[in-house]
Amino acid sequence: MASDDPHEDSAHEMPKYDYSATRRDFMLKLGIGINAIAGALVGIPIIGFFVSSIVKANQPTWVSLGSIDQFPENTTRMAVFLNPYRTQADGATANVPCWVKRENGETFTVFAINCAHLGCPVRWFEQSKLFLCPCHGGAYYEDGSRAAGPPPRGLFVYEHKIEKGELNIKAGLLPTLANPA
């Protein structure tokens, strides 16, 4: 059918090319050089953007959980703060919960909600005084120490301070084993 096509079989036959043609050779090298620079100029911002979340990693910062009066003595309660590095598009995910344990007076401990095993949200059970994780069954005592299950350590604890009657914690990063609160 295509046998009358003049390009069919001879399309790739050509005279032997002289690779030492210096002008073409120069152009080739010049072209490669220009494109290497151009490629770098395009690549640097792309890579820079991609790794910016590490290079400019946000450090934890002080966040207020509100007046200490809302936490009765000898109780553990959930408190919610707004992520200090939130953006408009974060919606409900800008809310970060944590567990505030007030012993007496001004003795506080603030635990991250994230289980030390795989980050699932632990829930406080007032009666049995345990934190239980719904994912793989990690359990912690009321002081945050590991009670049972797969967690390799106790709950992550936020650094805290009391200023002008308000409880402040140092927060803003997802607590993981690599970066424990």
């Binding site: 295509a2 992520n83 409900a92 919960p97 994230n114 829930r123 239980l132 997802l174 084993l177 690599a178």
Partner: protein, 504 residues
């Protein structure tokens, strides 16, 4: 008229060389025996991928990849946009079936020895396609951005955070920010919509080029061995003897299988519907569980069932070794027998893998390791487990319920399954053993010594000691007489059939 059409066709042919292209692709010669039902899984996987691209493009017209908006845009697709729910359903079931038929394809290729010489690279590109497809399945789950997806990303970040040295950097690259929020969703969106489909297209091209170049594996015969020196000649002899053009001679069953596959996907979309979105991704909402989608359930189960401290093996050593073995398989057994009947180890690997993944998936669906978070407040206790009990025992039953024991321990099968079912606990543990277990914990149970008063322990253990069938006596101390704290030694009845109440 006919001659005009013929001239147009010839004109196009001279420019596009379609006859030649046809002969090299759709019409390429394959062994006649490959027109088999077992050879249809590859094209089925490709069909799933095409469905995913098609539905994905249209879903992207409504989906908003923002943590604040995504949930709402999915609700719109489900309830407001005409047929949006069907589109979501097809995309979800297409993804599930893509993973399934891909596994079947891989199993067939493995059992038929098709990965051996000269199709090593075909197998390896297939492995890449498997990983990319699983990546698409995971990132697709994140697109739902409901509570499961949110905590799923959290699990991903926690796994990354366990890697030494680069863990922290990896977490930040994964999340695109300090916490799980809109940047994380955007990163997974780019991955799901641009990067991974692009990679899949590239590797599908390579995969198909290799299939065309190296030919479809002939139906192996027991005893016919692959040898590098002679196989190419052997294969061209097969083609000379029984070669047929793939289209139209060997594609028939593919067409039937793919038609049925599409009907199944659309049927599931119509009658089962799309998946979620579930509870919105709001970290302040308390959740009962957070499970990944089906393809990852078995890994989720492994994370719960392996002994404590083995996570580095599960998360890093196991995937690395498994991927390497899978990837380098053609070099481990490059020649020799292809037929599964003469490859018992291969058959055993397949059976064990399917059994293992199947059982772990079942375990993950039932999730016996997760505490039943609402059992203590939400589950009724049957009359037979409280009737004819003494006041102390009844008080113990209250302690049992109120102290959330039931979140981990079932009675009559109802409650958590993290710890042992306590329906007949008195038949295996004595009063002092129970006291010790409650106070000190151990064996994956928290110690309650600090949280229970001695009276509560006494009542609780009295209740537990009453948990045995009327015709089975409670357990007795093997040696000597041990006194439980603050109480006289109970006298368990040696006569079966009599209801026993201790601590009277």
């Amino acid at each position: 008229m006919m001659s005009t059409l013929r001239n147009v066709a010839l004109w196009l042919e001279r420019r596009l060389h379609l006859t030649k292209l046809w002969g090299q692709t759709a019409g390429h010669p394959v062994p006649s025996s490959t027109g088999s039902w077992f050879y249809t899984f590859g094209s089925m996987t490709l069909t799933c991928f095409c469905i995913q691209i098609l539905t994905g493009i249209f879903l992207a017209m409504s989906y908003v990849p923002s943590a604040a908006e995504s949930y709402h845009s999915l609700e719109l697709l489900n309830y407001s946009i005409p047929l949006g729910w069907v589109l979501r359903g097809i995309h979800f079931w297409g993804s599930t079936l893509m993973v399934i038929v891909m596994m079947l394809h891989m199993t067939q290729v493995f059992l038929w020895g098709a990965y051996k010489y000269p199709r090593e690279l075909t197998w390896m590109s297939g492995c890449v396609l498997l990983f990319v497809t699983l990546g698409l399945a995971f990132s697709g789950q994140v697109m739902r951005f409901d509570s499961d997806a949110y905590w799923g990303v959290g699990i991903g970040a926690s796994v990354a955070g366990r890697i030494p040295i680069i863990g922290e950097a990896l977490v930040h690259i994964l999340l695109g920010g300090p916490i799980i929020a809109t940047d994380a969703l955007s990163r997974f969106f780019s991955l799901h919509v641009f990067i991974l489909p692009g990679a899949l297209l590239a590797f599908v091209s390579l995969h198909l080029r290799l299939v065309l170049g190296k030919g479809i594996n002939e139906q192996p015969k027991p005893g016919v061995l692959v040898k590098r020196a002679t196989y190419d000649k052997h294969y061209s002899e097969i083609i000379k003897r029984e070669g047929v053009p793939f289209v139209p001679a060997a594609i028939n069953k593919d067409i039937v299988a793919n038609g049925v596959l599409i009907l199944v996907i659309v049927g599931l979309a119509l009658f089962v519907g799309p998946n979620g979105p579930g509870t919105p991704a709001n970290p302040t909402i308390e959740i009962a569980d957070a499970k990944p989608d089906t393809p990852f359930l078995w890994l989720f189960a492994l994370a719960a069932l392996l002994p404590n401290g083995s996570e580095p093996i599960l998360f890093f050593v196991f995937p690395t070794v498994a991927s390497l073995l899978l990837f380098l398989l053609p070099f481990i057994t490059n020649e020799g027998e292809k037929h599964w009947r003469r490859r018992p180890v291969a058959v055993a690997i397949v059976v064990l893998s399917y059994l293992g993944i199947g059982m772990l998936t079942y375990e993950a669906i039932t999730g016996p390791w997760s505490p039943h978070m609402d059992a203590w407040s939400g589950l009724p206790i049957k009359a037979e487990y409280v009737k004819e009990r003494t006041p102390v025992e009844l008080q113990g039953a209250v302690v049992f319920q109120e102290m959330q024991c039931r979140n981990c321990h079932a009675i009559a099968g109802e409650g958590g399954h993290r710890g042992p079912d306590l329906t007949r606990v008195a038949t295996r543990m004595t009063n002092p053993q129970l006291v010790r277990q409650v106070i000190q914990g151990g064996g994956n149970m928290p110690a309650y010594g600090r949280n229970l008063s001695p009276e509560q322990v006494r009542a609780l253990v009295a209740y537990l000691c009453s948990l045995h069938p009327a015709n089975v006596p409670p357990a007795r101390e093997a040696v000597g007489v041990l006194k439980p704290i603050g109480e006289s030694q109970p006298t368990p009845s040696p006569t079966p059939g009599k209801e026993v109440t201790s601590n009277q």
